[in-house]
């Protein structure tokens, strides 16, 4: 039915099966869109956010998708700027994930603000001292870079490629992709950092506050580093999910191994930095503010030391070891365990840096504030997942996303 659109020689499931899958995802997507409509029409009272929880599930989702979408900028940087050529076999996937993550992030931001129709004030009346301004600028600019990186892949679609202009455009864009990738990497480093800065500059919130370098708190660097470190974990996770769903091998082991190894070393260095940061924060920063370490992890029903342990040890040190040691990395199960743990780890980090920050009482007579998101918040947060599944499925079906697919199939 749609065979004319499918890349030449590629084997795809029958269209009805594909359509059924898309329909299921679309149903979830519509649910999310309905919730989104409610929020836009009736306002943010549709959420369970309150004056204590000014930032909640959505901002976490925002930070999390951007962190796990970090695979795009980092792989792009490695591929185009550092010239690690093997990665070209996975860069398409990384870029598509990036596009999904960043477009989702922008959408969530548009839902999250109280006056969406005035959202452009962040550009027009920009306050250069605000980390959020930096986020907005870099995020939207980097998103345009991602689109630019995505266009050549789209143009490789069998039918589009027949149009000479599109063919040439794709070719020419490939030609100077390094320039875009470098700009993108620069922008991405900054906005990943400024997302970290969003929390780190809050000197009224001891749990988030970090000292730092010039105007940048340590979280600025930690966020960039962790996005670069953990982003590829998510790229690989998605790759493995693809291989599982399609029951095909799509990327060669050496490519996966290389990216996993780089990710592993990045995580290892990151987690050391994170541990040093945590110790310094606990021993010096908050201590000067009159808090003890346990203040942030006790007297409440949810946040205990377990969350820090999970983030640093289980989802930090463990994947770092599993991915840096060749023997473990080459064990398929351990590899999957490591990349999944890594993805969870960075999500937990973003969670605590958004939600635990506002949950912790700061005034001595204040109390812990816990919150449970409303269904509208959950639905709009699931929306990007359904949307991502649809976009990834379409991209996989109609675009040559995995350059090694044919080769690997032939080798089988």
């Amino acid at each position: 039915m749609d065979s004319a659109l499918i890349p030449e020689g590629a084997r795809r499931c029958p269209f009805p099966v594909f359509a059924a899958g898309i329909a299921v995802a679309s149903a979830v997507l519509l649910w999310g869109v309905y919730a989104m409509g409610l929020v836009w029409i009736k306002g943010l009272n549709q959420t369970n956010m309150n004056d204590y929880y000014g930032f909640a599930l959505w901002i976490w989702a925002d930070l999390a998708v951007i962190a796990i979408g970090g695979g795009a900028f980092f792989t792009g940087l490695l591929r185009y700027v550092f010239g690690i050529d093997e990665l070209k076999h996975i860069i398409n996937l990384a870029v598509v994930i990036g596009v999904i993550c960043y477009s989702s992030a922008l959408l969530i931001l548009a839902i999250d603000i109280g006056q969406p129709l005035r959202g452009w004030f962040i550009f027009w009346h920009a306050n250069v001292h605000s980390m959020l301004t930096e986020v907005a600028f870099c995020l939207s600019l980097y998103f345009s870079v991602l689109i630019i990186e995505f266009i050549p892949l789209v143009l490789e679609n069998r039918q589009l490629d027949k149009v000479p202009f599109f063919h040439n455009l794709g070719h020419n864009m490939h030609g100077i992709m390094a320039v875009f990738a470098a700009t993108g990497a620069f922008l991405s480093c900054f906005h990943q950092g400024s997302l970290g800065g969003v929390a780190g500059v809050l000197y009224g919130r001891p749990f988030a506050f970090r000292e730092g370098l010039l105007i940048w708190p340590w979280t600025f660097f930690l966020f960039t580093w962790s996005a670069a470190a953990y982003g590829p974990c998510f790229t690989l996770t998605v790759c493995k999910i693809f291989e599982g769903v399609t029951r095909k091998k799509l990327v060669k082991d050496n490519v996966v191994d290389l990216l996993a190894k780089i990710s592993g070393w990045m995580i290892a260095t990151y987690i050391i930095a994170k541990i040093i940061d945590t110790i310094y924060w606990a021993g010096v920063t908050v201590s000067d503010m009159g808090f003890s370490f346990m203040h942030f992890y006790s007297d409440n029903a949810f946040y205990g030391v377990w969350i820090l342990f999970t983030e640093i040890v289980i989802c930090g040190i463990v994947p770092a070891i599993l991915l840096t040691v060749k023997r473990f990395r080459e064990d398929k199960k351990l590899l999957i365990l490591a990349i999944v743990l890594g993805t969870i780890g960075v999500c937990i980090n973003r969670w605590v840096m958004v939600l635990q920050v506002v949950a912790v009482p700061v005034m001595s007579f204040d109390t812990w504030a816990l919150y449970i998101p409303s269904w509208q918040e959950v639905a709009t947060t699931i929306l990007p997942i359904a949307y991502g599944i649809i976009v990834l499925s379409l991209a996989y079906r109609y675009l040559p996303m995995f350059p090694q697919e044919q080769e690997l199939y032939d080798a089988k």
């Binding site: 040439n168 020419n172 700009t183």
Partner: protein, 56 residues
């Protein structure tokens, strides 16, 4: 965003921030203009008609 917005101040913060921003905007737009322009020229020169030729 622009010097005519009243909250604009001519200071280091604005130089750095908007310097970097406009720099990125210019690179991206110049890059894209180049690509589109060159592709138009290429197309008019008959390149890319029979696909397969000149493929990466």
């Amino acid at each position: 965003m622009f010097p005519f917005c009243f909250e604009w101040v001519w200071d280091v913060g604005h130089y750095l921030f908007f310097g970097a921003m406009w720099y990125a905007v210019i690179i991206i737009s110049l890059g894209m203009t180049y690509c589109v322009g060159k592709s138009l020229v290429d197309t008019l020169n008959g390149k890319g008609a029979g696909h397969g030729d000149g493929h990466h």
